[in-house]
C-alpha cells in the first residue's frame, strides 16, 4: 500500500513516506489558463507539481495535516486544491444528479485529513468539515476521514 503525506503542521515527521511539505514548497497559484484541459491535457502549465502529481495519483492513501486558518483551509492548501484540476477531465457528468467532472484516472487515493486549530463554534467546525468532505467527494476519493489532529496522535499511541 502506498501512502503520501501533505503537511503544513509542525512536528509531523513520518519516515520513508513521500511527504509534500507546504511550508517548504512554494506552490504556484493556478492562473485559470485552462492549459491543463485544452492545450496539454492532464498537465499544468507549471511544472512545479509534476513529482507530487505522480506520487498522489499512484497512492492508495493521502494523509493531510492541515492548519485551520480563519476557520478554513490555508491559502497554500487551497492553492494545492485548485491545482488538482489537471487530474480530472473537462467533461461534465450528471450521473449523481448534480454536475461533476469526469475522472481522468481510474483511481484516486483515499483521504485521511487531520486538522490543527480551534473553532469558535460547533457550526464553524461543521462548515469546515463539510467543505473538506465535499472537496474529496468531487475528487473521487472513495473513503474520506476528517478529524482533529489529536486523534491522529491517539491512534499512534494505541499501536
Amino acid at each position: 500500500m502506498k501512502t503520501v503525506i501533505i503537511k503544513e503542521c509542525d512536528g509531523i515527521e513520518i519516515p520513508d513516506v513521500y511527504t509534500f511539505d507546504l511550508n517548504k514548497e512554494a506552490v504556484k497559484n493556478c492562473i485559470g489558463c485552462w492549459s491543463c484541459w485544452w492545450k496539454t491535457p492532464g498537465r499544468c502549465t507549471f511544472a512545479d507539481l509534476n513529482e507530487f502529481y505522480h506520487h498522489y495519483i499512484t497512492a492508495d492513501k493521502a494523509i493531510y495535516f492541515a492548519n485551520v486558518t480563519k476557520g478554513f483551509v490555508s491559502g497554500n492548501l487551497k492553492t494545492l486544491f485548485d491545482r488538482m484540476i489537471p487530474l480530472y477531465l473537462p467533461y461534465t457528468t450528471y450521473k449523481t444528479g448534480e454536475s461533476m467532472h469526469v475522472p481522468r484516472y481510474e483511481n484516486y487515493p483515499d483521504i485521511e485529513f487531520y486538522y490543527e486549530g480551534n473553532f469558535e463554534r460547533t457550526s464553524s467546525r461543521q462548515i469546515f468539515e463539510d467543505y473538506i468532505n465535499r472537496v474529496f467527494y468531487q475528487f473521487y476519493s472513495k473513503n474520506i476521514i476528517i478529524k482533529p489532529i489529536r486523534e491522529f496522535a491517539d491512534k499512534g499511541d494505541s499501536k
Binding site: 478554513f72 491559502g75 477531465l89 448534480e98
Partner: protein, 214 residues
C-alpha cells in the same frame, strides 16, 4: 459610505476574466462608480492595508473547487477584524456549473468569515453557468443587465436587491427534466462539442484522455 470592489479572479484585470466583467457591469450605471482593485495584480499585504479606508468591501470572484481561489484565501489571511462597528462585507460568486447549490459550502463560510471579522454581512450573490461569458458576452446580455441593476440598487440602498439575487441564483438544483435533457445531450455527444473545438484548435484532440502522471 465608501465601497471598494475586489476582483478575486487569478486572471486579474483581464478581458478574459468573468469576475472583471461582472465588476465593471456592477459599477457601470452607478452615479459614483466604486473603485475596482484586483487581488491578482496587488500584494495581499498592501491591498489589505489599502482597504482599511473603506467601510464596505465587495468581493467578486470565481468559484474554485467549491470555494474561493487560493490567492483570495491568501488575501483573506491578511485581513484583521474591524475595530469598530459599521463595516460591511459582501460577495458575488460566479461559477462554471449550472446549479448554484455548488456554492453552498462557500456561502456558509463567507457568512462565518464576516462574523469573525466583525463586519456586517451583506450576503453572497451566486451565479452559475458563467464560465463562457467572456467568450460569448452577447449570449449573456440578460445576466449582465441584472448585474448592472444590482449595482444601481446597491448604490441606493447599500444592500443586494433580493429579487435580482433570487433570479441570478436560479436554478439552485438541476430539476428532473433538466437532468434528463443534460444526460441526453451528453449521450449523443453534444455536451463535448465546445471542448473538442478547443482541443482541435490546439492540436491536442488525440491527447485529451492522457494520464501523464501514472
Amino acid at each position: 459610505m465608501k465601497t471598494i470592489i475586489l476582483n478575486g479572479s487569478p486572471k486579474g484585470k483581464s478581458k478574459k476574466s468573468n469576475s472583471q466583467i461582472f465588476a465593471e457591469k456592477f459599477i457601470e450605471k452607478m452615479e459614483n462608480p466604486c473603485e475596482i482593485k484586483c487581488i491578482a495584480n496587488n500584494s495581499s499585504e498592501e491591498l489589505a492595508h489599502y482597504i482599511k479606508d473603506y467601510d464596505t468591501i465587495i468581493f467578486i470572484l470565481p468559484l474554485y473547487i467549491h470555494a474561493m481561489p487560493g490567492i483570495v484565501m491568501k488575501f483573506i489571511e491578511e485581513l484583521e477584524p474591524a475595530t469598530y462597528e459599521g463595516k460591511h462585507i459582501g460577495f458575488i460568486v460566479q461559477a462554471g456549473f449550472i446549479e448554484t447549490a455548488q456554492h453552498k459550502y462557500l456561502e456558509r463560510y463567507f457568512e462565518e468569515l464576516a462574523r469573525q471579522l466583525n463586519y456586517g454581512y451583506l450576503g453572497t450573490v451566486v451565479k452559475g453557468e458563467a464560465a463562457g461569458i467572456y467568450m460569448y458576452p452577447q449570449m449573456f446580455k440578460k445576466v449582465l443587465k441584472l448585474i448592472s441593476n444590482l449595482g444601481v440598487a446597491f448604490e441606493k440602498t447599500h444592500a443586494f436587491d433580493k429579487e435580482i439575487v433570487e433570479r441570478l441564483a436560479r436554478p439552485y438544483e438541476l430539476s428532473k427534466l433538466k437532468l434528463i435533457i443534460l444526460r441526453l445531450i451528453n449521450k449523443v455527444g453534444l455536451g463535448n462539442i465546445g471542448w473538442h473545438k478547443m482541443l482541435r484548435k490546439n492540436n491536442s484532440m488525440d491527447k485529451r484522455l492522457d494520464r501523464p502522471f501514472l
